[in-house]
Symmetry: C2
Subunit: 337 residues, 2 copies
């Protein structure tokens, strides 16, 4: 028999070459039945993989980079665990880089990653990410970049997010149903697609329920949480103070709790609070915090899976995949459960 190759196996089995290749690499995209069929033929025909592909494989660094704003945050900590779980299965190691929500630092890290220290990159953009040239450069260099949670829509990267619009709508509607008439939205970046989606959900929920949109209640906060006490205190001290607060990130809910303690404003009696948060001890807070919990561990796993799918392809993928997972609203005392 002539030399066995993927093409001949594909023809024999009536499958595409890419299906055969992925079946041999045990890709999860391929069903078990197909995999068994392909592997049986490979054994029967004594198929040997192309040495060129092997040598390519040896050029890998065995590292992937994870670039995140912080780790002192349950969302990122859980996502890291998910990414690490997949990387370990693949025999890869995860280099974690922290941007501290600083665009300059993010750009410096990107420059560093250009040097070929890693095979691919998973990122959650810093809150100040109004410039994405550095990410474009990484992609042009041929490094696969997967974005999760804090994503940009203009980069053509595969992304893993939660249903930010629907969750923003749901959180706002939850406050409205709890009796709130003046609902404030707190966020840290207008550049992030994620934050924009959450805000759109907030606005549309107000509109649906006939509540006016008051721009003064949309508070653009700082990535440095210490700077957020003053504007939140000021808003809560004003004549038209909100009776409901929707925090788009966990640290803004924490800042709100501190501000309410300072002003002796009772939650939920005077102000109701709901927040995106994966805080494991949300129920132990005083009062228990109603949260939109993201499936952080699964998001990490999905992001890593997308990255390895690109790494296992012979050439980089030009198809941007979008995976959207659901957040869960968990009602606790802070919204007057």
């Amino acid at each position: 028999m002539d030399q066995v190759n993927l093409k001949k196996m594909a023809e024999h089995l009536g499958l595409s070459i890419s299906t055969v290749s992925r079946a041999l690499r045990d890709s999860y995209e391929i069903g078990t039945k197909t995999k068994l069929k392909v592997k049986a033929l490979a054994e029967e025909w004594n198929y040997m993989p192309n040495p060129y592909a092997s040598s390519l494989r040896k050029q890998r660094t065995g590292n992937i980079a994870l670039v995140v704003p912080e780790v002192a945050n349950n969302f990122f900590a859980q996502a890291i665990n998910g990414i690490e779980a997949i990387a370990q299965e693949k025999g890869y190691h995860v280099l974690i880089y922290l941007t501290h929500d600083d665009l300059e630092k993010e750009m410096e890290i990107a420059r560093h990653l250009m040097s070929g220290r890693v095979d691919g990159i998973i990122m959650s953009l810093s809150g100040e990410a109004n410039n994405t040239h550095h990410i474009k450069s990484l992609k042009e260099k041929g490094l696969p970049v997967i974005l999760f949670d804090r994503v940009s829509e203009t980069l053509g990267c595969s992304t893993v997010t939660t249903d930010d619009y629907a969750a923003g709508f749901k959180a706002t509607e939850h406050l409205i149903k709890a009796g709130c008439k003046q609902i404030s939205y707190l966020f840290i970046s207008k550049h992030l697609y994620t934050a924009q989606k959450r805000m759109q959900g907030y606005k549309d929920a107000l509109a649906k329920h006939g509540l006016p949109l008051n721009e003064k209640l949309i508070l653009h906060c700082s990535t440095d949480n210490e700077k957020n006490q003053e504007p939140i205190l000021k808003m809560l001290n004003s004549k038209n103070r909100p009776d409901g607060i929707f925090a788009s990130v966990e640290r803004l809910a924490i800042a709100t709790y501190h501000a309410c303690n300072t002003l002796k404003l009772k939650i939920p009696e005077k102000v109701k609070v709901v927040s995106f948060s994966n805080l494991e001890i949300a129920s132990l807070l005083n009062p228990g915090l109603s949260t939109l919990a993201q499936p952080a561990f699964d998001m990490g796993k999905q992001a890593a899976t997308l990255l390895f799918r690109q790494l296992e392809k012979k050439s980089g993928s030009n198809i941007a995949e979008k995976i959207v997972l659901k957040s869960e609203l968990i009602q606790r005392e802070s919204t007057g459960r």
Copy 2:
């Protein structure tokens, strides 16, 4: 002039060769004045570094490994930030490896690190670390290993810890002064020097105040926090239940809060609680948790500084340095402030 080398420069300046070498490498061990003098001469004499030394320098990976049990914990998250701050100054990158408190995983990571992927290692041992052969192997391979917080005394590694004995004593005495007569100590590993020290402080504080030691109140908990509800509930439900609990790690305080909620046992009225914890929102819990806060960020910085001091020496150091920082007792409502 003959070829310029370090020896000639050292003779000319009346300095040791190692001082000249370190001055040229900008080591922090050398004063600014000496550095300027050495660099001026190097420029004047047009000194070119020895190619062998350069090639050695190129052999560095530029990575250090950080091996920790978890990141979803404020202590480790803050320590990582401290380590990263120093690594960044040195132009190094930090590869983070998670053991999930699993000794098998820790050993697997150690095997992986043997392959020369990093220049040095900073570790906090897993709670099950009753075997440290893998760490000895790393050291024998010539890789500097610095231990922090969860350390072993038998390895001859440099360590960064807090004053665990004094803090254990202080926490227990704080409960005694708050009126507790039956104080329980919760811990997760008897193998860790850290936990042993904390427990000794607990025992000695009881003895000093004439309180009997009740072994039933010393609870050996699991590294898997889900398994801790049952034994803590059982102890809190027993006839001789404790009126004070000293948790040696944060997650055990969280488990205690959940157990007290389940049993509707009021904190601090029925049970007072104090815990080692760097939880940033300890004051927002219901009730606010009294904590022994460790200077985690500084511990991370110190550990990284020790590591780079070893890396900058030509040969690995055989001197084990011990740095001990102070924990701070912060009294809140859980001990009846």
